[in-house]
């Protein structure tokens, strides 16, 4: 018998999975799906920042398009730590894609116009 806390929404349902695979305690379908995926391997959406040049802000917040295995998160952050993108950026732009992971800008960044 396993008990997992669902993290899909702030309610945090405590969901029980017994040896036969029966799922109890989820208040919605997203919780059931979460638990099914979780049992196969914990994956998470990565949110982090990457450097941006020529913009109104110094770093650009991004999120991964798909969820990533939990164990790989730190490694991915280290891998992308030397990337830099150029302003202007539109929210939703894919600012990085190496075939394995894809990062989406979560905000727009205006270009700084030199006066």
């Amino acid at each position: 018998m396993k008990i997992l806390t669902c993290i899909v929404c702030p309610v945090g349902c405590k969901i029980k999975i017994d040896e036969e695979g029966n799922i109890q305690g989820a208040r919605c379908d997203r919780g059931i799906n979460f638990v099914r995926k979780e049992l196969l391997g914990s994956e998470r959406i990565l949110t982090t920042t990457i450097r941006v040049e020529g913009g109104m802000v110094k770093v650009l917040p991004v999120k991964s398009k798909n969820s990533i295995p939990k164990e790989k998160l730190r490694e991915v952050v280290r891998k992308i730590s030397s990337i830099s993108v150029k302003a202007p950026i539109r929210r939703g732009d894919v600012v990085y894609d190496d075939g394995e992971i894809s990062l989406i800008a979560t905000r727009s960044v205006e270009e700084v116009k030199d006066v």
């Binding site: 939990k70 952050v77 979560t106």
Partner: protein, 412 residues
């Protein structure tokens, strides 16, 4: 001095300010939104993690995405004037005084004011933690700003005091950025923030959570060298070598301006006493968001801010009629209730927000008047770290009597 006139001034351009300005603007009022930072968004700009918008918009977003959704709508309205990099210093006789580089001193004459200044973090000094005063001690939000806005890393070996949401989220953030997070210390026997954060920020990365623990001493003269952690139950102490301490020990609504103009504050919330329209004791002055009560979810901040924005517009157009006022009191096991008053008559019973004093399970929320009890709702779990929103019952509103909200259940 530059002088302008408007219908509604909203002080603060974070989620509460954005939503109240937007609603007031949509309802046709002229709005001036004053924000001290160089862009709108407030605290959302540094909350790069997900957890925003699921309830209100149906999609789970990051803080910046949530902010931009509202900013886009707001800047498209020509009757909303945004003043950025402008700090409000004083309010006198419905004139709001601010300063910025471009205008110098700006005086905005207005009919209604919406206070949306958010909150600040409790400090180490206020806790009186013994020891030295080295560099390397940050409040969690301050460290979050350093990392997510300035792109600077506070340290390499971190200990976090306080298991509020910000503390836990920063534990994960620092871990992912390559720091060693030695643990989160929580003085209470239960975590301070959302359960989902305990899972996805701490358990996911094997970051230990030490309940019933605190920091009893800080070591290091110039930069933090270590802390002495103490188990409050056994009194046992142990040393931890760290170069950075993050404090997530409470948020304090930032009501210095409110106090200046005589707004009555509720000592239980640290924020203004308001009615269901979020109007304070000063006519035409409204409050919403974290300045009113510290929220857990931005979705509720937005909902509350819509109410305040609408309240401000109704105030100006003299649409409300207040015949009588009743108080809503926090009763047994309830830490506080917002709103603290109701301006009657009301058509629809409003929502109230509250938190339990401690964690409970299998509990019931009751509204009492004159000895009579009405069941407002039942919950499997009720935790201080998770605000509850519940609708009052019609029967409680028909008389002139004060309402007491209480909670009965099993302590967790």
């Amino acid at each position: 001095m530059k002088e302008i006139s408007t219908d509604v001034v909203v002080i603060g351009g974070g989620p509460a300010g954005l939503a109240s300005a937007l609603r007031a603007g949509e309802l046709g009022a002229n709005v001036v939104l004053i924000e001290r930072d160089f862009e709108l968004g407030g605290i959302l700009n540094q909350c790069i993690h997900t957890g925003f918008g699921l309830s209100l918009l149906g999609i789970e977003m990051t803080g910046p995405e949530y902010a931009e959704t509202f900013i886009e709508k707001l800047i498209s309205l020509s009757n909303i004037n945004v003043l950025l990099s402008t700090m409000v210093l004083d309010i006198k006789d419905k004139v709001v005084y601010g300063v910025n580089r471009r205008d110098g001193v700006i005086a905005v004459k207005t009919e209604a004011i919406v206070l949306a200044m958010g909150c600040r973090e409790r400090t180490r000094g206020a806790l009186g933690i013994p020891g030295e005063r080295p560099a390397g001690i940050f409040t969690a939000g301050s460290a979050q700003r350093l990392i997510n806005i300035e792109g600077l890393m506070p340290g390499k070996r971190i200990v976090i005091l306080g298991s509020g949401d910000i503390g836990m989220i920063m534990a994960r953030r620092l871990f992912l950025e390559g720091a060693e997070v030695l643990g989160v210390l929580e003085k209470l026997p239960y975590p301070g923030g959302l359960t989902r954060n305990v899972v996805q920020c701490l358990e996911d990365f094997d970051i230990p959570l030490y309940l019933n623990h605190t920091i009893s001493e800080i070591k290091g003269r110039y930069r933090v060298e270590g802390v002495v952690a103490e188990n409050l139950l056994t009194k046992k102490r142990f040393s931890v070598d760290v170069d950075t301490i993050l404090l997530s020990v409470g948020l304090i609504p930032e009501n210095e301006l409110s106090k200046k103009i005589g707004v009555q504050l509720d000592p239980r919330t640290g924020g203004p006493v308001v009615d269901q329209y979020r109007e304070t004791n000063i006519d035409g002055v409204f409050a919403c968001g974290n300045v009113l009560q510290v929220h857990d979810l931005v979705d509720e901040v937005t909902r509350e801010a819509y109410i305040a924005g609408e309240g401000a517009v109704n105030y100006i157009s003299r649409k409300r009629r207040v015949e009588r006022i009743i108080q809503i009191k926090a009763g047994e096991n309830v830490r506080y209730v917002v709103p603290q008053r109701l301006s009657l008559p009301i058509d629809t019973p409003p929502y109230i927000y509250f938190r339990p004093q401690e964690p409970f399970k299998n509990c019931q929320i009751l509204g009492k008047i004159d000895g009579k009890e009405f069941l407002l709702g039942s919950y499997e779990y009720a935790r201080p770290g998770e605000m509850i929103k519940i609708r009052l019952k019609r029967e409680l509103l028909d008389s002139n009597l004060d309402i007491e909200v209480s909670l009965i259940g099993e302590k967790e």
